[in-house]
Amino acid sequence: MQTPSLPATVTTPESRTLPTLATPLAGSPAAPPSRVSIEGTVVADRVYRAAIFGFALCVPILLLLIFVEVGVAGWPALRQFGFGFLTSSTWDPVAGQFGAAPAIAGTIITSIIALVIATPLALGGAIFLSDFAPSWVRQPLAFLIDLLAAVPSVVYGLWGVFFLLPLLREDVMPFLRDTLHLGATPFFRGPAYGPSVLAAGLILSIMVLPYIAAVSREVLMAVPRSQREAALALGATRWETITGAVIPFARSGIIGGVILGLGRALGETMAVTMVIGNRHELSASLFAPGYTMASLIANEFSEATNDVHLSALMAVGFVLLLITLVVNGIARWLVWQTGGSRS
């Protein structure tokens, strides 16, 4: 592998032929450093600083632009329907009535299902990887869990449609409803079609697991060794060390990781669109089809019949944007508190 070398860049032919003192800005880039004019250097440095400053500014500008564009596009619907947009459950493009309550509820319910399933698995896995796994297991296993995050949403959706939905329809749903008699509760009632809020929650749980696991592992590893050694020295078992000394130290980081997973679950689109059934319906039963905000936009946007419909979909996008901004902001803040560095 070639290492960067100073002489190669200094003695290129072009750098020799260029005038040095006469052309401060244009000449200085390739001029031999020893004879470069100080002014040229200063100007070039300023230009460089301004350039990277400009690139850095692109990040807040982009975010602001998204916020404004989507907000302005959704404003007509928000103004027309007011607070009822969030609470009404009538979504009728023909009559021009739009209420996003079913989609908002669906988003929250599917996300909760996802977190309830994914959090214990991700946290357990993270504890195993950070504290108990032998080193030859650690790397490959962490890699495999990370790979879950690399699988595209649409592939999860495809798998969901042809593997998960039949499995739910034939086995899982009848088992929950009839064998476990959970059909007596309002949550597991009704015919087992397959496409359902439950299916969306399940697929989301797989999708957010790697994010929660990655952040949890990182904050657990960031807990100082001395913390563990102190607990062990006091006679704690290895598990007591985890619950008594490690987790309290990493608590806010772990919570941050879970909230980060929540952010992912709230905005996940393709896989959910493919398995949730896409119906504007508010049902207590997890077996019933539903909608999430993201799947509502994905499903109806290209068929938006009129300006109000389009604006209503934009408004749904804006509400989703606001929720995820707040959720992600809180998550990042919590993770930073514990000193986990990234992801």
Binding site: S34, A44, I52, A56, I145, A213, T237, E268, N328
Partner: protein, 273 residues
């Protein structure tokens, strides 16, 4: 008690990779049958005819990745350099925080934003709009990795370059950035792998195309879009093609991910010399 709980963490770790195995296994089982050389070289067949390929979508995805990279890489790397060199300032902290927030932005929101910003004013779907949408999604990832990698470059290297009379900007670009290049390439590959499979931002921007098109101002086909359309269609022949497309897509992503791992390894090997 202690042993039971430790055993439970092992079970949790095991359960966490069950879905991965299930998905990849099922994908290979379903996709391998439909995969052939024809898939890479021919156009989609009409409904009802088996076979055909997705050459337009494969090419389209590569073009979209190219556009996305030319949007996402300069901004991401530039912003990352800024964060690494101006680390402590208030603005830097804000940019870092917002980059993380942007990273968590739902992809569908990026899609409707790009539609509103790039498609609606122009009046038609285009490859450029789709590429820009997924390019914007690359920015936060590239920014954060660049920053991290540039930070690992020893201060002594900067000082050596400055002592030799290098201006700061050359020190930054030719010494610091080049030293950190291995890690940055990894970050870029991870970002590419992530956006290669993005579908939601392309739904209303690149839109998809049943024909062969490489025009940047026209709608363009993309592998994930094609997989989505075929998956929700009612035709068995199309389902087979969706599986094959998904297999190609995931192979592409896995290859990029694995390459990125090796880049890191070789980079670290060099840093330790």
């Amino acid at each position: 008690m202690s042993y039971v709980m430790v055993a439970l963490t092992v079970v949790a770790a095991g359960l966490a990779i069950v879905p991965l195995v299930a998905i990849l296994g099922y994908l290979i089982k379903q996709g391998a049958g439909a995969l052939s050389l024809e898939f890479f070289t021919s156009m989609p067949k009409p409904v009802g005819e088996a076979g055909g390929g997705m050459v337009n979508a494969i090419l389209g995805t590569l073009i979209l990745i190219g556009i996305a990279s030319s949007v996402g890489l300069p901004i991401g790397i530039g912003a990352g350099l800024y964060l690494a060199e101006r680390g402590g300032t208030r603005l830097a902290n804000l940019v870092r925080f917002l980059a993380d927030v942007l990273n968590g932005l739902p992809s569908i929101v990026m899609g409707i934003f790009a539609w509103e910003f790039l498609v609606r004013p122009i009046g038609h779907f285009s490859a450029l709009a789709g590429g820009a949408a997924i390019g914007a999604m690359m920015i936060p990832l590239v920014t954060r990795t660049t920053e991290e990698m540039v930070r690992t470059v020893p201060q002594s290297l900067r000082e050596a370059a400055l002592a030799l009379g290098f201006p700061r900007w050359r020190t930054s670009l030719q010494i610091v950035l080049r030293t950190a290049l291995g890690g940055i390439v990894t970050g870029v590959l991870v970002a590419v792998a992530r956006v290669a499979g993005e579908t939601a931002p392309l739904l209303f921007t690149a839109f998809g195309n049943q024909f062969f098109s490489t025009k940047l101002t026209q709608p363009i086909a993309a592998l994930p879009l094609q997989v989505f359309v075929y998956a929700i269609s009612p035709y068995d022949e199309w389902h087979a093609q969706a599986w094959a497309g998904a297999l190609v897509l995931i192979a592409l992503i896995l290859i990029i991910s694995v390459i990125s791992r090796f880049v890191v390894r070789s980079k670290h090997g060099r840093a330790n010399d």
